[in-house]
């Protein structure tokens, strides 16, 4: 067969058999492997960290302009940082309506 020696023929058959059954197993694993749940890892992704954000980043929030951004930073510097997102309400100009609009985009780290 193909002018192969016995050893060469055995190697080719071994490779083909492995490829065939390997593909079969891979197909089954892909199709029937159960969903593997893991702990949440992306809760704060896309949220602005109130304790590190600069004015440009804060201005990306809806309803926050240059003036309010500088007031937030001023408050942060004076109080030594925010302990919770709710503390933002203490900043002059952050109304309840405004806070409700932006609270989901913020986090504290």
């Amino acid at each position: 067969m193909f002018s192969l020696t016995r050893q060469e023929r055995q190697v080719i058959l071994f490779l083909m058999a492995t490829a065939l059954f390997g593909t079969g197993i891979d197909f089954l694993v892909k199709r029937y492997s159960p969903e593997r749940r893991i702990p949440s890892f992306g809760q704060n992704i896309g949220r602005i960290n109130l304790n590190t954000a600069g004015p440009e980043l804060l201005e990306e929030l809806p309803g926050i302009g240059q003036k309010l951004a500088s007031r937030i930073i001023e408050y942060r510097d004076q109080s030594g940082g925010f302990d919770s997102v709710e503390e933002l309400k203490q900043v002059k100009g952050i109304t309840v309506y405004r806070f409700e609009k932006i609270k989901d985009s913020l986090c504290i780290k």
Binding site: M1, F2, S3, L4, R9, I12, L13, M16, A17, A19, L20, F21, T23, G24, D26, F27, V29, K30, R31, Y32, S33, E35, R36, R37, I38, P39, S40, F41, G42, N44, I45, G46, R47, I48, L57, E60
Partner: protein, 445 residues
Amino acid sequence: MTRPLVVLTIAFCSGIIFSRLCQVPFWAIFLPNAFILALILISRKTMRALLIILAFGLGAIFRVNAYNLAESHVLRSKLKSHLVVKGIVEDIPQIRGNRTIFPLKVEAIEAGNTARRSCGTLRIFLNGRPDFSYGDELILKGRLEKAAVMRVRSLSDVTRVSRNKGFFLKRVALWARRESGIRMQRYTSSLTSAVLSAMVLGEKRNIPWFVNNLMVRTGTVHILVVSGFNVGIVSFTVLLILKLLRVRRDTRFIITISCLIFYCLLTGASTPVVRATIMAVFFLSGYLIRREPDIYNSLSMAALFILVFNPGQLFDIGFQLSFVSVLAIVCLYPALSKLIAKYFFKKGWVKFLIDSLLISLSAWLGTCAFIAYYFRIFSPVTVLANLFVVPLATLITLCGFSLVLISLICPALGFAFGSSAEALVFILLRINASLADLPGACLKF
């Protein structure tokens, strides 16, 4: 039959084509194949036909399995949905304007309130210019779109979890690629460094459209990709240096093979480089174990290696052109050479010229139908253009390699190589422009 790999590869490719044309379920191919394999194993006396059928079936099975997405695959998520994805950057990010594009190997996804393990690769389009590199582990929030694309609104939607993950050798290769690119930019103009990067590093992104257009019209665009020629230069140089250092023959081949694999990773492991690397490794291994290598078998081995990893490559224009051009040179050139020998006396420079012309003609004859079909272009000027362009490309590539090495050893000499490369690239473009302007040089339809 002394070329078993050729027959088996043709059967494997036919299987891939068959599974594309006929939507056959996986088990409908797998079970008959398992039966044939059992038959071969039981009947000790292997029949050639059965082995060919087995290779055919394997081709079909590999393709069906490649398109069978795992249940946890990221592309099973709903399109247009917002996802949080955790994964590893797989290549050097490209920066286009204010946007960064890179492939991300997905490890986990979070949609809604559930996070789960996942797999697959996404192409990330991120607004902003972060300093990410290969091996960075990121968490991104973005929108999944068609063709495995994920758009990320801004840098605030990305967090880097860790650095230096991924394959160590690839990390080193990509670092070497970036450093080489920087050195080319330092000593040459943007146009020349773009051409050098394409020829030496396989980095084609910065080639201006008019240069690419010009090369396509004259049918010489193949010089802008890293191929067997570059692999040849690397192996020749490494072998020569090791021989001068009086390294033992076997060690010399093993080191050269390692260098070729590193160069393959450095150039991004595109199809022509992988093909050329496998062929070179096959040849060098042949010398190493003292067996005469066969070009058809090594070409088949390269095709099998690429198709086993990705059967879809068979329908890729790059794969087809790369293999068809080598096959055409291997098959047609000896026949044409024999034919010409009857009419011309080949010696010295005449021999070199006629041989160059015949190699170019063979490659053109092999690929012209593919180029006409895919690009709607027929360039009779290609044969003539390659006569001038290929030697020039050889010099430019050598200049590029030397520039990178010299700038490491003696930076003061870098400018000399840079200036030479500038002049050669200028001549290359002038010749291309003149040839493209010849009447009937390029026919579009």
